[in-house]
């Protein structure tokens, strides 16, 4: 029996498997949980917020950078909240800000740095590990137990 204190439903599902399969799955889950806890330590907890993850995600896709006004429209948050988040990401070295002249106006354009890209990759890997743990065992049985 796994004593992980995370999800007893997974354990219940393992008990229904054959012995060999059960051992293999148990080992796999232990590895995944170990990996999840290990990678959590390596993550910068300041980055794992909705606004910051979204900002990094968008800046990764729009490789040329995003204008401040476009980012504000996309995230639908106040200027104060957006500026504070962008400032924090910039201080951590994950994004850069450049001023671009668009017609007669100076507009701030934000781009992701290599460090920011690496941090986002870590977050994605971490979420993938959570996904693997959450979806282990027989899905149908897990769903029944969740009800």
């Amino acid at each position: 029996m796994l004593k992980i204190g995370v999800d007893n439903r997974i354990v219940y599902c393992f008990e229904k498997q054959s012995n060999n399969q059960s051992n293999w799955l148990r080992q796999m889950t232990e590895d995944q949980i170990h990996k999840l806890l290990q990678t959590s330590d390596k993550l910068n907890s300041k980055t794992v917020t909705l606004t910051r993850c979204l900002t990094l995600g968008l800046l990764t896709y729009f490789a040329d950078g995003i204008q401040y006004r476009e980012l504000k429209n996309a995230l639908k948050i106040s200027d104060g909240k957006l500026i504070a988040n962008l400032y924090e990401l910039k201080t951590m070295g994950y994004i850069t800000k450049t001023e671009v002249q668009i017609d007669q106006r100076l507009i701030d354009v934000y781009s992701i740095t290599e460090k920011g890209r690496a941090e986002l990759t870590k977050i994605i890997e971490w979420i993938k590990t959570i996904d693997k743990i959450a979806n282990q065992g027989e899905k149908k049985k897990c769903q029944i137990l969740t009800k």
Binding site: F62, D64, G65, Q67, R69, N73, A74, T98, I102, D103
Partner: protein, 176 residues
Amino acid sequence: MPNIDKVIACLKYLEINPKIKDKNKDYRGRFYTQKTAYIAKALGINLTYCFTPYVSGPYSHDLACDYYANADKLETHNSKYKLSNQEIQILDKIKSCSGIYESMTLMEATATSVYLKKQTPNLSDDDLFVELKRLKPHLTDTEKLIGITKAKMLLFKAEYLTDEIKKELTTWDNMD
């Protein structure tokens, strides 16, 4: 022939020289590369890039990857692709659309309006304006209206000008 060669040939014809190597410089050049490629595709030049209208659109991530990977080729306009007569006609049409290469906001409004018109051809002008306002709230009403007009000019086809319409236009021209 790779897509990027076609894009380089188009940029060469339109005399657009983006600087790609330094990512923090020449936002303008890369902006015009993206929007020109989209309008060229919308008007009939065969490019397989997918464009999204959201946030910074119309924008193609694949196109961005291609021009960063071929920065030297793009900066020196090095392309073996030979534009066909039909493609030259399309590029001439884009070139003659005055103002879009002088004002980035106008280019943004025009390219987005072309996108919306291509996605929903039956969209009324009022609905187009509302949708454009939703996607690009930072553009002024004037910029949006001019952008819509420019988009209509770009998407106008010679076959739309029937004898009946020609006659009516001549009547209006000969008034007073």
